[in-house]
């Protein structure tokens, strides 16, 4: 392969994309196929979104795009154009999100590397289904791998959020 071809690979065309990230509008000049996870981590330094398998299998990079849970390693820049993205950094306001608090209290993490994606997945589940069954919890979180906890603490954390929500109603 000649040098020229490589040089072309090095400088791909860029497009302007505009998207909302955690409530803030962002305009970027990026190659259209740049992955959302790379944009978040490298361009915007939002490193709460993690990177682990890069093939959409582990959920470490999970974020919400227009309220849908997506693996940000599988979303390209042009697909994220004109969307609203919420990452782990955008979840807590003044107070921690109840999901984050439950993860803390129930030991829903150890190394914590899967936690941002896992919390985003729980958030996406409970936003549409405040009282999921055990099976629904398992299905909703089956795209998020955790190697540390064996999922015990995660399950207890999710159950705690559900119980607290039901008590609040």
């Amino acid at each position: 392969m000649g040098m020229k071809e490589h040089a072309e690979i090095m400088t791909p065309p860029k497009m302007e994309i505009s998207l909302t990230i955690n409530g803030t509008n962002v305009v970027l000049q990026v190659p259209p196929t740049k992955r959302l996870v790379t944009i978040l981590r490298e361009e915007l330094h939002l490193t709460g979104t993690k990177i682990s398998c890069e093939v959409g299998r582990c959920g470490a990079c999970a974020v919400q795009m227009n309220n849908q849970l997506v693996n940000s390693c599988l979303v390209m820049a042009y697909q994220a154009n004109d969307t609203s993205i919420v990452t782990i950094e955008g979840l807590a306001g003044e107070e921690l999100d109840p999901i984050q608090r439950a993860f803390l209290e129930e030991g829903g993490f150890q190394c914590g590397y899967c936690t941002p994606g896992m919390v985003m997945a729980v958030n996406a589940l409970l936003a549409t289904n405040p009282s999921p069954s055990d099976e629904q919890i398992q299905e909703a979180l089956s795209g998020n791998l955790c190697r540390c906890t064996g999922y015990g603490g995660i399950i207890r954390a999710v159950q705690k959020v559900i119980t607290n929500n039901n008590q609040a109603i």
Partner: protein
């Protein structure tokens, strides 16, 4: 149902590093970036075994954006690494021995450019015969992978006369067990940033389980003084043993020195799988005999471990397997031989359980098969042969007295009674079964090994009680352990404490964060330092406040007068004693070892576990689902409740994966499944929704060693319990992990129905 604590209910404390983890604010070392940072990539061999005839980097060097390329010519010091002996080349010169062997490394302005540069590096290989089978590797005519041949290590132990023992046996079971190559599969792959400092020093922000050891190894490679290298090694997104050995550090360091720029390397999952360590595949032959009464008389074991291309901790892993081959049983005649053999497969090394997992699977398999032959209840059979409080260790050495083996067996017996008859199957093509297994697991590196421990307590200028340890936070919860122990000892608050770990420039030598030793050594260090520290801080407080020292006590936020009122805060005390020398207490000692052990690496402190597994087997698909997984652990007092529970549950599920789904297959020296789309680890769908962990906190009277670590023990006895449960459900004995659905279907089709014990 949460953890059951036998003595008292400890508060579930929130981990000190928790907030950063649930908010995503915590910076892992692979999240760091520095001004002017370059990106590094490592060129690994395409051949599992070959001579390198030439390496050409000329074309790659001309690619715009490439800032440095290093090969073996650029290694200033020793071109080798390895925790025991440095037989793995940093950058290969004339030969490659596995597909993870590094040949060159590139630093460039972007990852894409670095990747493209790798494509332009030309390596000419002359292929050599590939050895993939350890038995072939031992053949006298096999090509020699290393100057001393293909046998990395032989470990041997014998007691009594096994052959004579077998003559008196009424039942003998002889089986071959095969264990797979398991991947650590930590969620964060290896990586970080290596930064050349203005004063010529080097800071290495890369996860490891023993910062000082990385510093030592890097100093040899880079030909630098150890004190000119700083290793920042925490936090990590998981390690499980896999980041104990050097991984990307030497390449990042060479590139950082060559470019005088910070260099980031973060391996992709595929790169990680290809280069990284795995659990040793082992083939274990066991012959075990009993007399009519059910006493085990003779136990003969042969272990063949595929250690891959290089040594790393392979010899120590084998020693551990040999040591744990008799398990918690008292057997008069024993012969154990272990061989760890070089092949052209991926490097096998340190992995949670450290050789105990493999040999315990085989041993407990023998026990269950013998119980069946004796028509004896498997628990009763275990009980009959179980070690007593003062029994010697597995290799006859004196160990700290412990009733752990009996305690875990009793606990699981209770659970078994509770667990029976609660299956309500609606599907006629599904069967359930229950299995139990137990284990013993040594902590620390063992006798004859350099195994230092230590720590430091100081009172800082800011009024914090600073606890510093040379350990790493891999995710296991070390910070919570330190915080809890300091708070319990000094009755202070979280805010009163500052914890320092994982930075060779500011921590004392504590040894490695491996071998279930960190919690144990933090506790022991604090015991050694607490009185001096307390006396000194109270003495200072007494002088400042003019109150009698014997009426002062340490408490929340400061020093209290006879437990009733805060008389001076820690902050005030620090302010008023600024002119005094820093209050600092240090300790250093060695991990306790057996006084009379003759076999290198054998242990003194042991933890025990018992596991109850209940499975459902689908007779149409062969799928095994674990319905229940309960563990009882005897490892001394619980320090951190959530940490303990998490280690046991998480270890249990990692072992569930080992039992039922995980195998890093290699074909002709190449990994077949190199990412999570093909290497499957348990998801939330694969685990029991509720698990139970029982902590047996009891220690023998006079035991001065405190809590034992629980990082590994939860992984040990799970596989044999699951396999016994499958047998209970189907009548099929399984000798090979992960359990093959096809094998089960075939067995069930040919063997017919379940046999009851």
């Amino acid at each position: 149902m949460a953890i059951q604590i036998s003595l008292f209910n400890k508060k579930k404390k929130i981990r000190p590093d928790g907030l950063g983890k649930v908010t995503g604010a915590l910076k892992y070392l692979t999240d760091l970036s520095f001004p002017g940072m370059l990106y590094g990539k490592i060129l690994r061999s395409t051949e599992p075994h070959a001579e390198i005839q030439s390496i050409s980097v000329d074309q790659a060097k001309q690619l715009p954006g490439v800032r440095a390329i290093v090969t073996y010519k650029d290694v200033p010091g020793l071109n080798g690494f390895g925790l025991i002996f440095p037989d793995q080349p940093v950058l290969c010169e004339d030969r490659v021995r596995y597909v993870g062997d590094a040949i060159a490394a590139v630093a460039a302005d972007t990852i894409e450019i670095a990747d493209a540069a790798l494509q332009l590096i030309k390596v000419e290989y002359k292929k050599l015969p590939v050895i993939v089978d350890p038995e072939e590797a031992l053949h006298p005519n096999a090509p020699r992978l290393h100057p001393d041949g293909n046998l990395l290590h032989r470990a041997y132990y014998s007691k009594g006369d096994v052959e004579e023992g077998f003559q008196s046996c009424s039942h003998i079971v002889e089986e071959i067990y095969e264990l797979p190559r398991q991947m650590h599969a930590y969620m964060e792959t290896e990586g970080g940033v290596i930064v050349p400092e203005v004063d010529g020093k080097l800071t290495v922000y890369v996860g490891t389980q023993h910062g000082f050891k990385d510093r030592y190894q890097l100093s040899r490679i880079l030909n630098m003084n150890e004190t000119d290298i700083r290793i920042v090694s925490s936090p990590m997104g998981g390690s499980f043993g896999g980041k104990d050995e050097l991984n990307i550090q030497p390449y990042g360091a060479l590139l950082a020195l060559a470019t005088n720029c910070p260099v980031k390397i973060h391996q992709t999952r595929r790169e990680s799988v290809r280069a990284g360590l795995k659990r040793h595949p082992m083939k274990i032959t066991m012959k075990t005999g009993v007399d009519d009464s059910g006493k085990i008389l003779s136990h003969k074991v042969k272990i063949l471990a595929d250690t891959g291309a290089y040594a790393t901790l392979g010899p120590a892993v084998l020693d551990f397997s040999v040591e744990h081959a008799p398990g918690p049983y008292v057997i008069p005649n024993i012969e154990i031989e272990g061989l760890s053999v070089f092949t052209n497969n991926g490097v096998a090394g340190e992995f949670r359980g450290f050789g105990g997992n493999q040999v315990t699977f085989a041993l407990e398999g023998q026990i269950d098969r013998l119980a069946e032959k004796l028509k004896m209840d498997p628990l009763e059979f275990r009980e009959k042969n179980l070690r007593q409080v003062d029994s010697p260790g597995p290799l006859g050495q004196k160990i700290a007295p412990t009733s752990g083996a009996r305690d875990v067996l009793e606990a699981i017996k209770e659970k078994l009674h509770e667990n029976t008859n609660n299956s309500h199957l609606s599907d006629q093509w599904k069967v359930t079964g229950t299995g139990v297994a137990i284990s013993i697991h040594g902590g620390g590196l063992g006798v004859g090994r350099i195994d230092p421990a230590g720590g430091r307590l100081s009172f800082t200028k800011e009024g914090k009680i600073e606890a510093a340890f040379g350990f790493e936070e891999c995710g296991q919860g070390l910070l919570a352990v330190i915080e809890t122990l300091v708070m319990e000892e000094f009755k202070c608050k979280e805010d009163d404490i500052r914890i320092v770990v994982g930075d060779t420039d500011s921590v004392p030598i504590s040894g490695s964060s491996t071998a279930s030793r960190a919690t144990s050594m933090v506790w022991n260090s604090i015991q050694r330092m607490k009185e001096t520290f307390r006396d000194e801080i109270l003495e200072r407080a007494s002088r400042v406040t003019d109150l009698p020292v014997n009426e002062l006590t340490m408490g929340p936020n400061g020093i209290w007068l006879t437990d009733e009122s805060l008389c001076i805060s820690y902050v005030e005390l620090a302010e008023k004693t600024l002119n005094k020398p820093l209050l600092k207490v240090e300790t250093s000692f060695n991990f306790p070892v057996s006084p009379d052990a003759v076999v290198d690496g054998s242990h003194f402190l042991y933890a025990f576990s018992s596991v109850l597994a209940r499975v459902e087997v689908d007779l149409l698909t062969g799928k095994v689902k674990v319905l229940d997984l309960e563990q009882a652990i005897a490892a001394g007092p619980v320090v951190s409740l959530l940490g303990y529970q998490g280690q046991i549950e998480g270890g249990g599920i990692m072992a569930l994966g080992y039992s039922l789904m995980e195998e890093a297959k290699m074909e002709n020296g190449a990994y077949v499944n190199d990412n999570f789309d093909t290497y499957l680890i348990p998801t939330i769908q694969d685990v029991p929704f509720v698990m139970n962990v029982e902590a047996i906190e009891k220690l023998q009277e006079g035991d001065i060693y405190g809590p034992r670590g629980v990082g590994e023990i939860g992984t040990i006895a799970v596989a044999p319990a699951i396999v016994k449960a499958i047998h209970d459900a189907t009548g099929c004995w399984v000798n090979k992990l992960p359990v093959s659905r096809e094998f089960l279907l075939e067995q069930m089709a040919t063997r017919g129905e379940k046999r009851w014990v």
